[in-house]
Symmetry: C2
Subunit: 578 residues, 2 copies
Amino acid sequence: MNPIQAPLNEMRFLLEHVFDADATWQSMPALAGVADLDTATAILDEAARINAELVHPLNRSGDEEGVRFEDGAVLTPSGYKEAYNAFVEGGWVGLCGDPEYGGMGMPKMLGVLVDEIAYSACNAFNLYSSLTAGAALAINAHGTDELKAQYLPKLYSGEWAGAMDMTEPQAGSDLRNIRTRAEPQDDGSYLISGSKIFITGGDQDMTDNVVHLVLAKISGASSLSLFLVPKRLPDTDGNAGESNGVSVGSIEHKMGLKGSATCVMNFDSARGWLIGRENKGLACMFTMMNYERLAIGIQGLGSAQAAVQMATEYAKERLQGTAPGSANPSDAIIVHGDVRRMLLTIRTLTDAGRVLALDTGKQLDLAKFSDDAAVIEKASRYVGLLTPVAKAFLTDRGLDITIMAQQVFGGHGYIRETGIEQLVRDTRIAQIYEGTNGIQAIDFLGRKVCGDNLATLKAFVAEKLTTLEGESSKKRALEAGFSRFIEVASWINERKLANPSLINASAVEMLDAFGYLLYGLYHLTMAQVAGRAAPELASAKAQFCDFYFAKVLPRADALLTQVQAGDEVVMGIDESLL
Amino acid sequence: MNPIQAPLNEMRFLLEHVFDADATWQSMPALAGVADLDTATAILDEAARINAELVHPLNRSGDEEGVRFEDGAVLTPSGYKEAYNAFVEGGWVGLCGDPEYGGMGMPKMLGVLVDEIAYSACNAFNLYSSLTAGAALAINAHGTDELKAQYLPKLYSGEWAGAMDMTEPQAGSDLRNIRTRAEPQDDGSYLISGSKIFITGGDQDMTDNVVHLVLAKISGASSLSLFLVPKRLPDTDGNAGESNGVSVGSIEHKMGLKGSATCVMNFDSARGWLIGRENKGLACMFTMMNYERLAIGIQGLGSAQAAVQMATEYAKERLQGTAPGSANPSDAIIVHGDVRRMLLTIRTLTDAGRVLALDTGKQLDLAKFSDDAAVIEKASRYVGLLTPVAKAFLTDRGLDITIMAQQVFGGHGYIRETGIEQLVRDTRIAQIYEGTNGIQAIDFLGRKVCGDNLATLKAFVAEKLTTLEGESSKKRALEAGFSRFIEVASWINERKLANPSLINASAVEMLDAFGYLLYGLYHLTMAQVAGRAAPELASAKAQFCDFYFAKVLPRADALLTQVQAGDEVVMGIDESLL
């Protein structure tokens, strides 16, 4: 069983027909001549190959062996170092990086598909390069030209890795409580002191250097600033030189992601350089955060895709019971209605999830590469609206999907060697890190929906609905569903000042309702586009759409009903009764 | 943090006021004089103490260390053997056992609460004694007097353990494919040969002997028979004597339950004795299966209860963010609406789950102990209706609850030492073994609901609704909900012959819808009873009820809408498109 036969046909269909990628990319000067459908197809083919051949074989062994911490050093599982070096040589870290510093300058729409393939192959392995790409993004967006020239080529090439250092024991979801300090030096650098926890890829034995982006407070300040703090200082040739007061205190033992090092990092007067402006560290982080949050959403999507493939293959092979009227001694379990219901549920959620990832990626590309100010402004708002949905909904459904896929395996799904239980354990964290899904939902409802009194939400929904062709009961169902969603969101918006807990208490249900509606829209879009432009997929897409509307979409209405009950049932009860 | 402060006040409230246990027990001659509320309270107190002091300390170490297999022997984690011997000395294996053979003769209504406490303390540890009690039950129900005298005292005392040997590699959900053979011998015994997999507690190093109940086919037969096959044959003094051709081939490495041995068992001309009649093995297993399935449901409930306690304590202690308008630098996270929503969701699902467990236990008691044939007949049908719901709904919601509780912990929930991630891993199997929850749902809808054309369902629902007091919008909501459920079930029942896949494709949604409605009924019942008879609980119960109706119950309607879409969307799609 090979769980990472990447869905290349599906990806090509989405790029070519649903997103009209060539036209989209040609409309942006920085992408015209760089990205086109044929290049994208070749890159996806190669991503599928290298992840299948090089990365996926380490998935289970890395889980069994895990990362070790010995004498202050972090040791990755056997084979990681060799595979990592071969992987980064392919230029994958710099796929969407700035060409001025050695990146390939590809659009995020392509990046999300490559990320999906990589996470399908191995959640843990892909985090090292994903974090590195994220650090490069922040440095590119906010660093000085000197820092960019010094660090970006090393990061894009994979010679050095990157890490994000935000969390402290007392400062998780609430970063105001960060205690790490930065002392300004005469040469313009800072000395950073403090401890960080839960630092993914905080150290490892695969690269010469790790470049930490550290949130800290400049002495005397109460706001946060962002610093670049390398594990080893660059020498005069730009290579990793002397140590810099950055050390690993310990590593965490986790439910999953055992091949990924989760470190306690200690900074002891480590030399760092400001990224962006003083006391504006959070704003710098947030530039990057939209990309990172989407990337973590795609961890959920990649796990889901692997789970769908594994469960579907198993259901076609495993003989048990018979179909009604069958004369066989046993049939493959895919004949059973309940097994099919599970397979179709996880398939339709995964297929729509890929569209959400691409849609978010497209808005990121427009915001970054367009030369039309109006396009940039609108795309930026859509990025804001879609990012928390992509992060939370892709990872929440990602866990649902891996668990349902595991159920298809029966008892064999609980055994480690089958591999499906590892997907459940590995993907579980994606609902938590990079901002818990509760935080995402509050960002979505509080800032993105209510922040501009629903203006962005209404514009986005109206625009999406106009892309649907003709008239149909499904289109009317979506119009009614979104209309109800907007009505409930308006009801919340009107009460947000008088009742400041209403958003917090309703946020997850609202994000989920929006996600289910949006997936319905994506399914109808795919069915319509395939019917018109991809006859080989038309039947499947139409039937997946029928299934989704019948068997999944009704959840949205229930969620909105729950929200309309208000928050008194949540907030009214005395804590002592819990 | 101690996750097993058993909810003794809640249990007492349910026994005394909701189930009127004293009156119920006095109505059954075999229980009158044996079970009363004071005895039950004393037993629950002691169960809470011994599980907290003796068993729970092994929960995490057993998970870290796991069961080992060395030189053909199964070695349990450090401390298991000592704790097990101390545990069984308390008579817990024989709690509900037959007093004629050394059991305590207590009702299952008490047994389910003791089981919940034990599973809360340690999923893995409790399986050994739970399987032993299950084996004793089957022997007592169908074994000869000689076998009963020989084996039951050893099982009730815990000196010997029990195991159920059903699954084979090619025979999981479909037991017709079992290949294990039984060769009749002149002395009335049989020689058993074959291999079984996934045998929980198939062997260990804690007891002198393991008594296997093995499903096999007598040579020449196509139906299954049930055999008692001890690992070691009793000697003339009735103690464990010579070996009996029963050996362990290997043990499984699993997602969780690492302290529980899951064995491949090999039977090589092992001597066995028939339990029940030849070729009627499945019927014998099913006697026991109702108890076993309820017990596994309670694994889900026990995990849920532990998770609720852990998450609630954490939410009251963890400082992060502030409540709207708060002047504190940080508040405990329980002030946040989304955290409260999670805590109330898991609390209300767990509280109602306990009522479902007790309700099922009560019907088992009536069916077993009543001297009124009409009572026995009705209770047996209610047992049939409720058992698959208790098994599937308690374990499906059990996983949901542990996952939501884990989310309350944020990043700390993903770290092993916090303990909440172990609950997720340990309880996951309960949705699979003892008949997958899909199988439970098909049993529920196909056999229990449609099998008698809804007669039992309608009688049960009508009886339950009449127990509700007065008039209220909640009561009307339940009446409408159950009425719609019956309507949809009738629609399925009318089509079951013409469309034989409809039941299979709709079963899980129907079981879930019924479960959510039933939980609504239990919450309204608790609120009404507390309001009348337990003023100290009245406010909490009323508010939990409000929350459940507003924030959870709407799921039932969505599920019924999904079912009404029919099964064409499930069955119609060509397999090749998946």
